[in-house]
Symmetry: C2
Subunit: 387 residues, 2 copies
């Protein structure tokens, strides 16, 4: 297997785009990444997207995007792995380059949700659950996460207001990220007063409905000089790992332990030859405060039941033991589903290059991104490092 380098990144601000269609969003991120990388050939385009079929009845996104950006003819596919579509698309690109099947691959994650009503989006997003056992009862992803949060509070004696550390940190970090959707800090009181969505989950526990696109260019490390004429330092992909769990939460051995996140992160540690202590930044899947807490625990950063305490003590802050959501995370940068996994990679690259501006985590050498599908039915972990 060949070492894989990320030689270019591109992103648009996460927002609501009423004037552009899906292919335009993908185009803007993709062309920015191509330009930065300075590559003249592209062997494959991989598109990560979750809901375009359900929201706009547009499938066949691989060919559609490749053609629209002027790459008609090249290999192109769309990957749909629920909310992990972005990370799964990145893995396709990684496999193709690592395995020697392609030299230059561009991965783009794109999602457009804001054209539809919140009800339509919620309904469509329920496709990431087990429809025959969860969706049939009318529950949505937020509803399942609310049940998990309630159970966590009961099991570990945590009060709802104590979760505030997650959204407060995310929003604080987003202030310095020009590509974040919400660039406003919030206070604990704001969180405490927020309207309830699915008791106990409130408006500031969950990530927003939004549009976005992010892209990365990959090539073999040994051929960076040959293909990439850009002036950015390449970033190395140290590990890529996918694991799964029961999609329906009630089917899991322990609903409060994200088995897929555990398996996927630990496989990634092994492949990268590191331990959790070596991770300087963790871009986790904070689709809600409770998922952030469960991720920290499953990936071995804190003991069971300790994540909220760890967060309140500043462990997740930019200068903490393990900075998370450093550019705002799903909560404040935004969670355009199939693009999220690529945004996480793009932001890690910014951090590892030292180009994260006000969001910069100092001395960051190793970063980990983890994308979760549904309520943890799939977990895809990537670890990046400097060369």
């Amino acid at each position: 297997m060949r070492d894989v380098a990320i030689v270019g990144i591109g992103q648009i601000r996460v927002s609501e785009y009423w004037d552009k269609s899906l292919r335009h969003l993908a185009h803007d991120a993709l062309m920015a990444a191509l330009k930065e990388a300075g590559v003249e050939r592209v062997d494959a385009v991989v598109v990560g997207n979750t809901l375009a079929g359900l929201l706009t009845e547009q499938g066949h996104l691989g060919a559609l995007v490749a053609d629209f950006v002027g790459l008609r003819g090249v290999e192109a596919v769309r990957i749909d792995a629920a909310d992990t579509s972005g990370a799964a698309a990145f893995r396709w690109g990684y496999m193709a380059v690592a395995g020697g099947l392609a030299d230059v691959v561009i991965v783009v994650g794109v999602e457009q949700m804001s054209e539809r009503s919140a009800e339509e989006v919620q309904q469509a997003h329920t496709s990431v659950l087990d429809q025959e056992y969860e969706g049939i009862h009318g529950v949505t992803p937020n509803a399942v996460q609310a049940l998990l949060m309630r159970r966590y509070m009961h099991e570990f004696g945590v009060k709802h207001e104590e979760f505030s550390a997650f959204p407060v940190t995310a929003h604080q970090n987003a202030v310095g990220n020009p590509n974040a959707m919400f660039r406003r800090a919030i206070r604990e009181e704001t969180y405490a007063r927020a309207g309830v969505i699915a008791d106990p989950l409130n408006m500031f526990d969950v990530s927003p409905i939004c549009d976005g696109a992010a892209a990365v260019v990959l090539c073999p490390a040994e051929k960076v000089k040959e293909y990439a004429r850009g002036d950015k330092a390449p970033i190395r992909v140290l590990a890529s790992a996918v694991a799964t769990d029961a999609v329906a939460v009630h089917d899991r051995k322990d609903p409060l332990f994200l088995e897929a996140a555990y398996l996927s992160s630990h496989a990634a540690y092994t492949r990268a030859g590191i331990t959790p202590r070596d991770v300087d930044i963790f871009e986790l899947h904070d689709s809600s405060s409770i998922m952030a807490a469960l991720s920290l625990e499953a990936c071995g950063f804190v003991a069971r039941g300790q994540a909220v305490h760890f967060a309140r003590e500043g462990g997740i802050a930019r200068n903490g033991l393990l900075p998370i959501s450093t550019m705002g995370g799903l909560k404040a940068r935004g969670n355009p589903l199939g693009a999220t996994g690529v945004y996480q990679i793009v932001e890690l690259v910014q951090q590892l290059r030292g180009e994260a501006g006000e969001c910069q985590v100092h001395h960051a050498r190793i970063g980990m991104a983890q994308n979760l599908g549904g309520t943890g039915g799939t977990a895809i972990t990537h670890i990046l490092g400097t060369f």
Copy 2:
């Protein structure tokens, strides 16, 4: 890159399954393939599916299927590349094994359409077209293919009834395939009298709405003896190639030339080190008679405008120059969209092993399968051979 071997296959009969859900169909094909391969470990499950999101609002099929077959925890993703989802899933598995990222991978293509009305299926299937430029006018994939057929008839002076060789051959071949949906031969007169669907396309020009699932087990050729305890001869993957074209037909240089099929097949010939003359069997994408004709021409088997003549002369018959749709093809075995690409691979394996029964093509050493997305926006080609 490592040589990749197919060490097990499984399939269910293409039919209408009112008593089983999607995960059951996938289970039945997948378990049959695992059993035949005699493998004890599985590193990854790749699920090809096209319409489950739109028809049943069920996404997240990778984790869902893996868990349901007792493989909870393993890497699992779902690939959606329009009608080429099955072939794209196979390519993911091929890349993982060839590149050394996984040793034993099971690929399953599954689709369930019959629970919905024909109108709902047509509407959902329109997602493989360009919605903003084709779908918006109300055209369906069949309607676009009808336009192509009319143009072909005009351009090359071919009468509609002359296309009969394609469905007649496909139905004849399906008689001997216990897994085909339509095991009845048809006559030219039946074709001539069939009801029109989208003028000039008639009922016997197009493939049916149906349910199905097919699976294959892959492992590195060098490790077949270590992992696969089955008693079947392994089949070798000689080439895998993806190419694209404009999704919207009006955007193509020449609507009667399937550029993606040309690029994909010729890349595959190069990778396999063969020419079209070396191909003994071609499982092509006969979603309609016109697509079969265009595929034969784009892949270099016959000159432009000659495909219908070639078919009428018996070139595509089991004992012809280039047998196609040897187990019934999309037309008569059936076209369960996201499963079709895997059925094609499974059938080639049956042929190359000499286990195709009444459908057996004698002295078949090299087989090619080509899966098309939409009306040729994506083409994925695989070439298989004996060791």
